[in-house]
């Protein structure tokens, strides 16, 4: 009995199995279905195994911050830009300019190289076709369409305190209203009257909208495309005033234990080889490398979209203020 207990204790205390010399530990906010095939492709190509944990962006940053003195991850790969802005402020990532860094457009990377965009993302309106038909409505094609009383209690979208999608929405509205913050918040207060609930995760409204619990869901493009792929009868539209183009990035963790292997992996991120995988694996985002191939479905969708470039530096400085304002002016009753 005692021996069995001792053995059990040893097994439990066993740390992460002795690291192969070249192993990369990754924290990602992308769903496993999207991230794992990409990591596997790298392992297949180089023989370097990648261990990863999937966490929501906020959890990821909180976890990496708590581990700051003894980092467990080498790379943060696939998380929205606001998460990286927070990670930079928390001092948990360090600058690294990958081999292909120069080719990435200015608005898609941190000027000091703390983080760089893996892909470009945006949001759209996803409407339940059946419910729209019941009410004789056309899918919304303008931010102002959403203020129609017919949508009262029928819109779900993300909570700005938890979700990068919500920040994309706030930014989209800000840029769509010509960077007039007063107008933008005035609009959001009106929109609030039609919102059924603010979900905690960005994609949280997708299934409710697909199941008819809400008519419209304002969400990121990949969520909408996944829902359509699954067979839900959803209509995707863009507001004609435009939507903000946001980034999904990659960064090197400060004090990474497998620094060299990690930087090689980041280099690979900005090769055509990896950027084409976004298309092949149906990630439904736009590549950031100019020569990366674009998924046909995304390309078709993008024809209707007016992408508004985002000033990363301005967002980094104003994010907290925008969210606070949203809390204190939009949702306060």
């Amino acid at each position: 009995m005692a021996r069995a207990l001792l053995f059990a204790a040893c097994v439990l205390l066993l740390p992460i199995p002795a690291w192969a010399a070249d192993t990369i530990n990754v924290y990602t906010a992308w769903p496993e279905s999207l991230s794992q095939p990409i990591f596997k492709a790298y392992t297949a190509k180089t023989g370097v195994p990648i261990n990863f944990i999937r966490l929501s962006t906020g959890e990821l940053v909180a976890r990496a911050t708590a581990e700051k003195n003894n980092p467990r991850a080498d790379v943060i790969w696939g998380a929205p830009g606001d998460g990286f802005a927070a990670a930079k402020a928390a001092g948990i990532i360090e600058p690294y300019k990958a081999a292909g860094w120069g080719k990435i457009a200015h608005e898609l990377k941190d000027p000091e190289g703390y983080y760089t965009a893996v892909s470009k993302n945006t949001l759209l309106f996803m409407s339940n076709a059946k419910l729209l038909k019941e009410k004789g409505l056309k899918p919304p094609t303008s931010w102002n369409d959403l203020l129609d009383p017919a949508y009262k209690g029928q819109i779900q979208t993300a909570d700005a305190r938890t979700s990068g999608t919500a920040l994309t929405r706030i930014l989209s509205i800000y840029y769509a209203f010509g960077k007039d913050e007063e107008k933008a918040f005035d609009y959001q207060k009106k929109l609030h009257a039609n919102v059924q609930v603010y979900t905690k995760s960005g994609g949280g409204c997708t299934i409710p909208a697909a199941m008819g619990q809400a008519m419209v869901c304002i969400a990121h493009m990949p969520d909408a495309m996944e829902a359509k792929k699954k067979g839900y009868d959803m209509l995707t539209t863009f507001p004609r005033e435009g939507v903000a183009a946001v980034i999904e990035g990659v960064a090197l963790v400060k004090g990474a234990k497998n620094r060299e292997a990690a930087t090689k992996f980041i280099d690979w991120t900005f090769t055509k080889d990896m950027q084409d995988l976004l298309d092949k694996n149906e990630v439904y985002m736009l590549p950031t490398l100019p020569e990366g191939s674009v998924n046909a479905a995304v390309q078709a969708l993008m024809k209707e979209a007016k992408l508004l470039p985002v000033d990363l530096e301005w967002v980094g400085k104003n994010r907290k203020r925008l969210v606070d304002r949203w809390i204190n002016e939009v949702i306060k009753e």
């Binding site: 261990n51 944990i53 959890e59 976890r63 467990r72 059924q196 409710p208 697909a210 199941m211 829902a227």
Partner: protein
């Protein structure tokens, strides 16, 4: 404070006790290392930012949403405590006092356990699909469109349905321990049923009622998953605010401050419960045999009312879970309702490791945590060891704090050498043991409150050492509590997520993390299939442990040993 029921020794004698003293030292050491130390690290983080700071507290007091969250949390917890205890009491009465056929009890136990053993988020999401604007029950059965379930109503309903089984399990054990001959005494003195119920049954059940109220209130105060999905922005509560502060606003300091604010009501509930249960003697297990009599404390009308309430609850719960089973067996719920085994195929290929890891961790948690719980409960209820209250108090801190905070505190405390436990399974086990043993401790103190200490005194006066008395007298008497404690631990280890999301590692994964992943990843089918697997596994374990217990327990405590059915 009035003395505990005739403790066996004085404080001075307790200190010299050769068995008790080392045990208490060990308990204190464990609690200090795995509860107080991480919490202290977090407090340091909160009040230290290159120098002492009160910024977090200042911000806390100034924010309207945090103030509202505090009141909402208190109101919700009180309501859940009351509603859940009432519902649990109804189920317990029906199970042990209504003379229903045995199989009804078994069926009740089986279904009632469902909400308790399902992973978080699952119940809340099932509630949306059952009672939402286009819900199965609300819209398709009753034709009500546009029902708003986000806010207090939905959160209260979901939490009550999730937590009332705790009340049921606690109260069933307590009611079963009340000797029906006491009620018979009332009847033969000419009292009517209501009077007997009011003056005998209910007062004897008070420790159980107070316990279950405490457990439910505390569970609701700490629950973040349900309000996260159902609270919306209209009904902020503290645990979700703390979570949002950390993961949404990247403000660990503010989140920690909010969490410590939560400790205040949690500890108040704890003190109130203490005061309430110690005021009266509720000893019913005296070693003197009571005659087996037919229970007749409920009128046929009362039984019918109870059956109605319980049947409706069971029906609602069943609907939720049939929805989940259905979602796990179709291609894509709502879009393509044709049968598909793809989700289970995924569970048995890619998901197998997570299931195995979770089982290993749960299996280790059960004996460790169960023993910790009953020993702690015994020390608190039956000895006069100085500082035992403080010990009990300290041991419940991890339970009262929101999981997010416990997870982060553990990460901060145990990431660096010499205590670099992150990345091992050990940290997960420790987290569960010190977070979820409270149920076992509570069950132990509640049961011991019903057991006359003279039984132990007899053993002691016959010369048995304290450990012998504990093993041969106390342990058999509190087996139901041990069983309940271990079962709750297993259930939590299989279903908890809020703390462990920060502690899972590359080599140790958990099923609940896969479920959360499925939900955030629009893989409703996969999430449902994992949920069904968790529920089946927990059922299997519950049945098994109750069978083993019954064997061990043969004849010793009668039906009280069958806390979990059968």
């Amino acid at each position: 404070m009035s003395p505990a029921p005739a403790p066996v020794s004085s404080p001075r004698a307790a200190l010299r006790d050769p068995v008790l003293a080392p045990v208490v030292v060990l308990l204190w050491a464990a609690v200090a290392l795995f509860v107080l130390y991480p919490v202290t690290r977090l407090l340091a983080l909160m009040f230290w930012d290159d120098g002492p700071t009160l910024a977090a507290v200042v911000e806390l007091v100034g924010s309207w949403q945090h103030r509202r969250a505090l009141w909402n949390s208190l109101a919700l917890a009180g309501l859940v405590g009351a509603a859940g205890t009432a519902l649990g009491f109804a189920f317990a009465l029906l199970a042990v006092r209504a003379n229903l056929p045995r199989w009804v009890g078994t069926v009740l136990d089986t279904i009632v356990l469902l909400p308790l053993i399902s992973p978080p988020f699952t119940a809340a999401i099932a509630l949306i699909f059952a009672l939402g604007p286009r819900g199965l029950i609300s819209y398709h059965v009753f034709g009500i469109a546009g029902l708003n379930i986000y806010g207090l109503g939905g959160t209260l309903l979901s939490e009550t349905l999730t937590y009332f089984p705790i009340a049921y399990l606690t109260l069933k054990g307590v009611l079963a321990n009340i000797d029906p001959t006491l009620e018979d005494g009332g009847f033969s003195l000419g009292a009517r049923r209501w009077r007997v119920f009011r003056t005998i049954t209910v007062p004897l059940a008070v420790p159980g009622i107070a316990n279950s109220f405490l457990l439910l209130t505390a569970a609701s105060l700490a629950d973040f998953a349900t309000p996260l999905i159902l609270g919306g922005t209209k009904f902020p509560v503290l645990p979700t605010q703390a979570f949002l502060q950390i993961t949404g606003l990247y403000d660990m300091r503010g989140g920690a401050a909010l969490s410590f604010l939560l400790l205040v009501p949690a500890l108040a509930v704890f003190v109130a419960q203490r005061w309430w249960t110690e005021r009266r003697s509720v000893i019913t297990v005296t070693g003197k045999a009571g005659a087996a009599t037919r229970v007749r404390s409920l009128s046929p009308g009362a039984v019918a009312a109870l059956v109605l309430v319980c049947a409706l609850t069971v029906l609602l719960v069943l609907t939720f879970y049939l929805l989940i089973v259905f979602a796990s067996m179709v291609r894509a719920l709502g879009a393509d309702n044709s049968f598909s085994s793809a989700h289970y195929a995924h569970v048995f290929s890619g998901g197998l490791k997570a299931i195995r890891d979770t089982l290993v961790i749960a299996a280790v948690c059960m004996p460790v945590g169960g023993l910790f719980a009953v020993v702690l409960g015994y020390v608190v209820a039956r000895t006069r060891f100085p500082g035992r209250r403080a010990l009990e108090f300290a041991a419940m801190i991890n339970y009262a704090l929101p999981g997010t905070i416990v997870g982060i505190a553990y990460l901060v405390a145990f990431n660096d050498p010499p205590l670099a436990l992150t990345g091992t399974a050990f940290i997960l086990v420790i987290c569960y043991v010190f977070r979820y043993s409270l149920a076992g401790t509570r069950a132990t103190t509640a049961l011991l409150a019903q057991v006359d200490p003279s039984i132990e005194e007899a053993s002691a006066s016959l010369g048995a050492r304290r450990d012998v008395t504990f093993r041969r007298i106390v342990l058999p008497l509190i087996r139901p509590a041990l069983l309940a404690g271990m079962t709750v631990l297993f259930i939590r280890a299989m279903t908890a997520i809020s703390a462990t999301i920060f502690l899972v590692s590359l080599s140790w994964s958990l099923v609940t993390v896969r479920i959360l992943e499925g939900i955030t990843n629009l893989e409703l089918g996969q999430a449902s299939a994992f949920s069904v697997m968790v529920i089946l596994l927990v059922y299997a374990a519950v049945v098994l442990s109750s069978l083993i217990m019954r064997r061990l327990n043969a004849g010793s405590l009668g039906q009280a040993g069958t806390l979990l059915g059968g």
